[in-house]
Amino acid sequence: MNNTHKQKWDKIIRPRTGWFDIHPGELWKYRDLIGLFVWRDFVAIYKQTILGPLWYIVQPLLTTLVFTVIFGTVAKLPTDGLPPFLFYLSGVIAWRYFADCLNNTANTFVGNAHIFGKVYFPRLTVPVSVVISNLIGFGIQFLLFIAFFLYYWQNSSVIHPQPALLLLPILVIQMAALGLGFGIIVSSMTTRYRDLTHLVGFGVQLWMYATPVVYPASSLPENWRWILLLNPMAPVIEAFRYAFLGTGSINLQSWLISLLNTVFILFVGIILFSRVEKSFMDTV
């Protein structure tokens, strides 16, 4: 009785084929798992230390203070006429969310090999949940920023929030997408090149100095600004500052280019990731 062709199968396991073997629907099916991963990270942080959530505030505050002293007071870098503290704080928290997403997703395969080696679930759930749980930290830091923002807004006249504030959700999604995209590209490559892991933390730190976090883009010489177009994070930080503080040299065109870059990087990341996820257990 050969009725193979008439039967309906729920799932067919086949050898890896091509580059575009992606199943976005599966991610939706496993949304409960993503939720639980997020909640696990959250609970684990709260349970381990009393200071856990407080670190979210202490770290950017200290970083900002150091930047204010070194780059503002000692090096006297320009801040587009803004109060230096607020200028650095806005850059630091926007950059941190991107950097955290990248750093924490860059180790997805190697760090989860023990789970991945035993059960199947869409591997993308792990980096996606990391990005979402980092959003909680970002939220706390964002509230901190808002508190200082309101204080300075009341007490000085150099701050002019712009209608571009409405674009804030898109900017946050873009930061997350960029962090996720680069993170999963790196994590796919670390299954082959382990030494890349060491490079990531260091590379992200250097990258920050290539991005207008501690200096405004306007302080760069005119004929150097094109370099910022290559860096998709630069317009994001500039746009973030422009929306809240009303300064900066952002134009719509450069932001749209970075938006396209983001989509491209995320796409490349997903393709690489889904290619590696099927075979990495044999090589890890």
Binding site: T4, Q7, K8, W9, D10, K11, I12, I13, R14, P15, R16, Y30, D32, L33, G35, L36, F37, R40, V43, A44, K47, Q48, H114, I115, F116, G117, K118, V119, Y120, F121, R192, Y193, R194, D195, L196, L199, K278, S279, M281, D282, T283
Partner: protein, 432 residues
């Protein structure tokens, strides 16, 4: 009418052996630069100018095809390295096959190792949800079965305690309970029963049996032929990546033992990371040897044999006691042996490589298969560092030369041991 739920069609899986890549970007760039300049690759192995790629590859599975019907409990047996784990890994979608196809209906959940994804900081209840979701269940499904799971695992009192405070037994019970209660249509079980106490093992086997009766399908991998024959309707026997036998479980299990396919007198664990053990001590090798030191799968009933293990001690200050547990094909424990070497009885071991051998005299075992479990234990306080089940297996043969316990008698003899006893006869001629 039974329905096919899993269909495996000519499945092949290739693994590459040895160095796949240099694993560092700098070295790959070095090799690439050398090639560009036309120099010799500084990272290539000496003497292998043109390494033939085909030699570094091997087929872990070769043309494996079978079907499983709904409600069937299928046993998968074979010695170490026969391809059982590879097959399960493909079925549970952890790795992709090289060629061939697997089709199935419903959801597959695997118990490749229990407790996957447990987070030590979370409570038992929280981990049930997390683990259930990893196995592919929705929150509502888990909510419905929460009480049942907790009751089965016997951890009611500790359900809101972080699992890092659980004993290893509780941990395993909870993990098994989650997987067994999540009601996947197809359940894959691999040697989970090696853990937990005897009572819980029985409970697990009972649960698996009832899972099968409910119409769900179970794939069961085990070295323990008794549980295979008791639990499974059908079994397949893998040997070097091929299916060599497929049929009723007791027949396949029997032939596995009788043909000597299951026999393995020498085991080596060249890779320290995967060797059985912990940070204190790790096993390197185990073997059944003759008096001249050579290892042998088949041993004459009359000759003494040594059970030897080699192990590395990494941490000083532990009283380590190697011990063996020997059982026969039916699962009857023949005896348990503890290290009796007086030199080390009272002394904790210093770092280094050790070899411990237990000598069993000739004319002791009955004919047939003997399976050896190897453990290294500290007894005060009790802690098991290594417990390798079915580490080595050998076969005792009786050659009918007339000087063993069976003498010239050719039929089958009962008994789990067959000692050659000293017999004496008192005779008195009765004179009428």
């Amino acid at each position: 009418m039974s329905d096919t739920v899993i269909q495996v069609e000519s499945l092949w899986k290739e693994y590459r052996l040895g160095v796949i890549s240099h694993h560092t970007l700098t070295r790959d760039l070095q090799s690439w630069w050398a090639r560009v300049c036309g120099k010799e690759d500084p990272n290539s192995q000496i003497g292998s100018a043109h390494p033939s790629r085909s030699e570094d590859r091997f087929w872990a599975l070769q043309d494996v095809s079978f079907e499983v019907k709904q409600g069937e409990i299928l046993g998968i047996i074979g010695r170490n390295g026969a391809g059982k784990s590879t097959l399960l890994k493909i079925l549970s979608q952890v790795t992709a096959p090289t060629k061939g196809e697997v089709r199935f209906k419903g959801r597959i959940a695997s118990l490749l190792e229990v407790g996957t994804g447990f987070h030590p900081e979370l409570t038992g209840r929280e981990n049930i949800f997390l683990n259930g979701a990893i196995l592919g269940m929705s929150k509502n499904d888990i909510c419905d079965r929460l009480d049942e799971i907790v009751a089965f695992a016997e951890v009611e009192k500790f359900i809101d305690t972080p699992v890092k405070r659980y004993s290893s037994g509780m941990y395993v019970r909870l993990a098994f309970a989650v997987a067994a209660h999540l009601e996947p249509e197809i359940l894959i079980v691999d040697e989970v029963l090696a853990v937990g106490d005897a009572q819980f093992q029985k409970k697990c086997l009972g649960k698996l049996e009832s899972v099968g009766k409910e119409g769900r399908t179970v794939l069961f991998v085990s070295h323990d032929m008794t549980s295979i024959t008791r639990l499974c309707d059908r079994a397949i026997l893998l040997y070097q990546g091929h299916i060599v036998n497929d049929g009723p479980a007791d027949e396949v299990a029997g032939s596995y033992m009788d043909t000597g396919l299951g026999v393995q007198a020498l085991r080596l664990w060249p890779d320290m990371k995967n060797a059985p053990g912990n940070n204190i001590v790790r096993l390197r090798s185990a073997k059944i040897k003759l008096e001249d030191g050579s290892h042998s799968e088949t041993i004459d009933i009359r000759s003494p044999l040594g059970i030897e293990i080699e192990y590395d001690v990494f941490e000083e200050g532990h009283l380590l006691v190697p011990n063996y547990n020997l059982r026969n094909r039916e699962g009857i424990v023949l005896f348990f042996a503890l290290d009796q070497d007086t030199a080390w009885k009272e002394h904790s071991r210093c770092k280094g490589r050790y070899k411990s051998t237990a000598w069993v005299p000739g004319n002791f075992f009955a004919e047939g298969i003997v399976i050896v479990n190897i453990a290294i234990t500290t007894f005060m306080p009790f802690h098991v560092h290594i417990h390798e089940r079915d580490a080595v297996v050998f076969q005792i043969v009786d050659s009918l030369d007339g000087d063993s316990a069976r003498r010239e008698f050719g039929g089958s003899l009962p008994g789990v041991v067959r000692p050659l006893l000293r017999w004496t006869t008192d005779f008195e001629a009765v004179i009428e």
